[in-house]
């Protein structure tokens, strides 16, 4: 049997001493003993209230001294950003809420058109004329202007096997084989000029989700922490090397770039989808 440390009783508790420890000790000095949970239980209501009042005074002093308006404004903007990105949004104080899926996919759409289009245009090689392909790009750019929500299924044709082998060589020693998801078979939801959600499957048939709303990007992986970042370059989709250099956040500009600098060909069956 071990000796139990002396537990404070109500009458033994010096509120000034206690609050002084709480308010004025530095992080290294601050060692609240194992009674931390007991103290409240041992105090009667009056002592608890006396303590609470001193906590209030301490807090009011901190608040009064806090003149950092920039930090205050940043705090509000963070709240608003969180609210805009939240997955269950109140609608006009009413009962309408959006499903989690809708919330995640909602902020996302036009960007990917560009990515899909880029993949389609550049990779899917067929025998259509350049003029038709140019017209297709023009239509895509017009579609971006119209802000139409779109869903695309991505098919990557060509030397896929070669690229997979290349990918394996590159990732050898860095990550487990088969973890990397391929764009082939991915589904892309697009909205506006900078919102997207991209679903990809790994070779183990698990789903990776990338998304962005123009301000925040996120990546959701199976059984792992969800990453979010305000860096527009974060969680880049593993595009083929030859495309990575031309992708920008402005899809319209990207399309224009492709139109101006690349030889493009048109794939009818993809476009019809």
């Amino acid at each position: 049997m071990t000796a139990e440390p002396n537990k404070p009783e109500n009458n033994d508790i010096d509120i000034d001493e206690l609050t002084s420890k709480w308010f004025d000790s530095g992080p290294d000095e601050y060692q609240i003993d194992e009674y931390s949970e007991i103290i409240c239980e041992k105090m009667d209501s009056e002592k608890l209230r006396q303590t609470a009042d001193l906590q209030l005074v301490n807090s009011m002093l901190i608040q009064l001294a806090d003149k950092d308006q920039v930090a205050k404004e940043r705090q509000i903007q963070n709240v608003l950003n969180n609210v805009k990105n939240s997955c269950t949004a109140s609608s006009q104080f009413g009962n309408a809420t959006h499903s989690k899926f809708y919330c995640y996919t909602r902020p996302l759409i036009r960007y990917a058109v560009a990515a899909v289009l880029i993949v389609s245009i550049t990779f899917i090689v067929t025998q259509m004329s350049t003029n038709t392909a140019m017209a297709a790009i023009d239509k895509m750019m017009a579609a971006i202007n119209n802000a139409v929500d779109r869903t695309y299924s991505i098919m990557v044709e060509g030397n896929r096997e070669n690229r997979q082998q290349q990918s394996r060589r590159n990732s050898q020693g860095r990550r487990e084989q088969g973890q990397r998801a391929d764009l082939d078979g991915a589904t892309l939801y697009l909205r506006g000029t900078n919102q997207f959600v991209l679903y990809r499957q790994t070779s183990r048939d698990r789903t990776l989700i990338n998304g962005g709303d123009g301000q925040t990007r996120w990546m959701i992986r199976p059984d792992k922490t969800v990453f979010t970042s305000s860096d527009p370059e974060a969680f880049k989709i593993p595009m083929p090397k030859e495309l990575a250099a031309i992708l920008t956040l402005d899809f319209k500009a990207t399309l224009q770039h492709i139109r101006d600098h690349y030889k493009v060909k048109f794939i009818e069956d993809i476009y019809d989808d």
Binding site: G26, I39, R49, A52, V57, Q63, K72, Q75, V83, A89
Partner: protein
């Protein structure tokens, strides 16, 4: 498009609520949580939950207590994980503090600063050495050991001054009816 406009309107209204209650909620959080590094996390978490539950809010009742009710639950959840913060706080304390903050919010003034401006008067009324300790501790955010060094006093003496100063400020705020007297 209509839906989006409604969302934007809701967010605009919510922003007003956040701005109106920011200082009050921070005062509440600072009263019950010791770890400075998580004030903002708790603030953000509270506001996000408030947003998500806004449809449940009974608009015939004051917003502040409802907001603090949510914040209190989040604080208690935090305290269960962070024992070093749990010393002086339990559900009763949270409820009591919420009542005090409600009382403060009914003081005259449009902003939290205006409602609590009596505190400035009370600080001015402190004895010189107590006022100096308060200014160095809170307004210049000096650790007690630095204050002791600056004022060529022992750390224990500074701690005592701060203790007394806070008690005097509390008495002053009670006299001015900014905070309520404890009733048994």
């Amino acid at each position: 498009m209509l839906h989006k406009n409604k969302d934007n309107e809701a967010i605009a209204v919510f922003e007003i609520l956040v701005r109106e209650n920011q200082d009050m909620l921070m005062t509440y959080l600072r009263a019950v949580v010791r770890d400075k590094s998580i004030y903002d996390d708790l603030f953000q978490e509270t506001m996000l939950v408030v947003w998500q539950k806004l449809a449940d809010y009974d608009r015939s009742r004051p917003f502040g207590p409802w907001l603090r009710g949510i914040a209190g639950k989040i604080v208690l959840a935090h305290l269960r994980k962070a024992k070093n913060d749990a010393l002086l706080v339990n559900a009763e304390t949270l409820e009591y503090l919420s009542g005090q903050l409600h009382h403060i919010s009914e003081n005259s003034g449009d902003t939290w600063d205006e409602k609590t401006e009596v505190l400035t008067f009370c600080i001015k009324a402190l004895p010189d050495n107590h006022r100096q300790a308060v200014k160095l501790r809170y307004f210049q955010q000096m650790p007690v050991s630095n204050i002791a060094e600056t004022t060529k006093t022992s750390t224990e003496a500074i701690k005592k001054r701060l203790q007394r100063a806070r008690s005097q400020l509390l008495d002053c705020l009670r006299r001015k009816n900014v905070v309520m007297e404890i009733t048994s």
